[in-house]
């Protein structure tokens, strides 16, 4: 697929360049495989600091895999990952990860506030008691997602959107610089989607960086500054206005997007 490669090059990926120390997440030659089938092949990406970035691609394109590999949660075959110029292991305090909602058992015996406090683990360690200040911090994180009245709820009683808000509050409690979210808007209600996007934009305004796997092409232009298109290989990367084009989407999705859909997207971008 020679055309794919030229597109990736023209899309702004700095192929062959060294890691960018200013970037909150910089990938060089990242390759991940399940068995002998590559899920990601030699992916380069340089996410900009202080911006909202979307990772976009069809199902099975390796979007979630990219996040997990970048955070060191799954083994990689090759490649280099830096977070603000450091290896991931040295930058754990600066990263907050929000996994997919469906990745945990919501019948687990715990309450909303206890889940949020899990985000304070690195500060609490094995022995420190949960102080009043830590609890206040967790409650504040809940208030920022509009869930302060739900602190003592059993997590099994929450709706999908509320579960997502709790996950986000746990990430806020970590007080990180880089927020990495896996499909934060999947299966949530409209009010929650608005609450989350307002919050993420607030984080950006504080100079934090946000990287999210995103599936809804219609909202990309409204929500994000930077896009990274992926389908096993890096397809295109750059500012939404110049990179999120019908041509790049057609390349990334192959035949899986109808032409009319692409035209509509083109209208929303322009």
């Amino acid at each position: 697929m020679p055309s794919t490669l030229t597109l990736a090059a023209s899309g702004g990926a700095q192929t062959g360049a060294g890691p960018d120390p200013a970037s909150p997440l910089c990938l060089r030659g990242l390759t991940v495989s399940y068995g002998d089938k590559p899920a990601l092949f030699s992916v380069d990406a340089t996410f900009p600091a202080g911006a909202m970035s979307a990772i976009i691609g069809p199902n099975g394109a390796g979007k979630s895999t990219l996040l997990k590999a970048a955070l060191g949660l799954i083994p990689t075959v090759s490649g280099q990952v830096t977070v603000y110029g450091q290896p991931v292991a040295a930058a754990r305090d600066r990263i907050a990860y929000v996994p997919q909602r469906a990745s945990v058992d919501w019948d687990f015996p715990t309450t909303v506030i206890d889940v949020v406090l899990m985000g304070r683990y690195r500060k609490l360690g094995l022995f420190r008691r949960v102080s009043r200040a830590e609890r206040a911090l967790a409650l504040d994180a809940l208030a920022r997602v509009g869930m302060e009245g739900f602190a003592d709820r059993q997590i099994g009683q929450l709706s999908g959107g509320q579960q997502q808000r709790v996950f986000l509050a746990r990430a806020l409690a970590q007080d990180a610089d880089l927020y990495v979210l896996d499909e934060p808007f999947a299966g949530v209600d409209a009010a929650t989607e608005r609450a989350i996007i307002d919050l993420l934009k607030g984080l950006k305004a504080q100079g934090k960086s946000v990287i999210a796997v995103h599936h809804d092409l219609a909202t990309v232009a409204g929500y994000f500054d930077h896009v990274f298109l992926v389908n096993v290989r890096a397809m295109a990367e750059g500012p939404v206005e110049t990179t999120f084009t019908p041509a790049a989407l057609a390349q990334t999705y192959g035949g899986r997007l109808a032409a009319t859909h692409l035209d509509q997207l083109a209208l929303t971008v322009r």
Binding site: K68, L71, G72, L73, A89, R92, I95, A96, Y97, V98, P99, S103, V104, D105, F108, P109, T110, T111, D114, V115, M118, G119, Y121, R122, L124, G125, L126, F127, G146, M147, G149, F150, Q154, G156, Q157, L158, S159, G160, G161, Q162, R170, Q174, V180, G187, D189, A190, A191, T192, A195
Partner: protein, 403 residues
């Protein structure tokens, strides 16, 4: 029975007292360690670990005899069992990691092969020398007979140490059990936490081998945890409740066994734990069957109440006798079926919330929410203020109520 009471009150002699206290501590450690196994959804691994101890016991016996001992040293036998349990555990992990077999298949294979090998070795030992092998089959179902002070001390000390380690590791184990991905992203080495958890389970298994037996030690790990889950919705409380249930089962079971030496200890302890489980299943207020049935009755009453109030809103006649009874009992309608002031006010509120719910259910395609659409749970309980404001905005301004 007086024998049993004496044992229960630690009056049945020095040895029985040691055994009873040891069994209580072991039960507490098993219940607590098993909680994390249960929460991590790896309960079955403990079955493989327990069955994998048998060849170790037999080999340790043979080695000790070959070295000129009598082969009865409990510490030596437990050391052997720990080594082969570790081999079994490692094999399960290795098969699951490097082949395409699922963990349950690996557990089944390891469990049966190790246990089979152990039984063969036991048979060999029996044919070798009838006199000296006495006692090894106690490791299958457990026994308190002939327990030495040293044995009881081993159990008590090991159990206490295990509980202390569980307390130290409770936070990382909780994080990994709930969300291993997030825990790993925070820098917790989930593999090492899992290994530590399995190490604790192995310790309980090995310590409890003589008392409960390898076939039933799994029950001591799992039953207290699932029992405690009926009573509470918080990890720390599940943990300590499971410890107490395990401890009481071990204590009472050992006391019973001490007063009736012909009964094997393991099955008695497990039966007592199972009794507590059955009672909890039926009567626990948080998640028990009876509580669920009562909750269902209340739910039914709420539905009738809501339907009755909606009928008042629409000025439709009510025919259902249960609905009429509920509305009358709450003073919402008079005896002749006409709404009281209180009834009309509530009906108006219900009508507004009903319209909000219509919007909510259109917006939220979510079973967790439709399950809470019962008409009595205030909508403010289910949705946040901004969510409700969103529904009201979609309704398009205030509308007349009371139809």
């Amino acid at each position: 029975m007086p024998d049993f009471l004496a044992a229960l009150l630690l009056q049945a002699g020095y040895n029985a007292t040691l055994v009873t206290i040891g069994a209580g501590l072991l039960g507490f450690a098993a219940g607590a360690a098993g909680t994390f196994l249960f929460l991590r959804k790896r309960a079955l691994v403990s079955d493989a670990v327990a069955h994998a101890t048998l060849p170790g016991v037999a080999i340790a016996f043979l080695v000790m005899v070959a070295l000129g001992g009598n082969g009865q040293s409990l510490v030596g036998l437990l050391l052997g069992s720990a080594l082969s349990a570790f081999a079994g555990l490692w094999l399960v992990e290795w098969i699951a990691r490097t082949t395409r077999l699922a963990e349950d298949a690996a557990i089944g294979a390891v469990l049966s092969v190790f246990f089979g090998f152990g039984v063969v070795l036991l048979t060999v030992i029996q044919t070798l020398d009838r006199g000296r092998q006495a006692g090894l089959e106690d490791f299958l179902l457990g026994s308190t007979a002939g327990m030495l002070l040293q044995d009881a001390q081993t159990i008590a000390f090991g159990g206490a140490l295990t509980v202390a380690l569980i307390w130290v590791l409770r936070r990382p184990m909780t994080l990994v059990a709930f969300d291993a991905g997030h825990a790993a992203a925070m820098g917790i080495d989930t593999r090492r936490v899992d290994l530590a958890m399995m190490g604790l389970v192995m310790a309980v298994t090995v310590i409890g081998l003589k008392l409960v037996g390898l076939i039933l030690i799994v029950a001591m790990l799992i039953i207290p945890a699932v029992t405690a889950r009926f009573w509470t919705n918080r990890v720390e409380r599940v943990l300590w409740t499971a410890g107490v249930i395990g401890g009481v089962s071990g204590y009472v079971g050992a006391a019973l066994s001490a007063s009736a030496p012909d009964l094997p200890t393991g099955p008695i302890i497990v039966l007592i734990a199972a009794g507590v489980f059955a009672l909890s299943l039926l009567f626990a207020p948080a998640r028990g069957v009876l509580a669920s049935a009562l909750a269902h009755r209340r739910f039914q009453a709420r539905v009738h109440r809501r339907q009755g109030l909606l009928a008042l809103v629409r000025a439709e006649p009510i025919h259902d006798p249960l609905t009429l009874r509920i509305l009358r009992a709450e003073g919402l309608i008079r005896r002749d079926g006409v709404a009281t002031d209180k009834g009309r006010a509530l009906a108006a509120k219900i009508a507004r919330d009903e319209r909000r719910w219509d919007v909510a259910r259109a917006v939220h395609q979510d079973t967790a929410l439709t399950g809470r659409y019962d008409g009595l749970t205030p909508i403010e309980d289910v949705f946040t203020a901004d969510q409700i404001a969103d529904f009201d905005a979609r309704l398009g301004g205030p509308q007349p109520v009371g139809g």
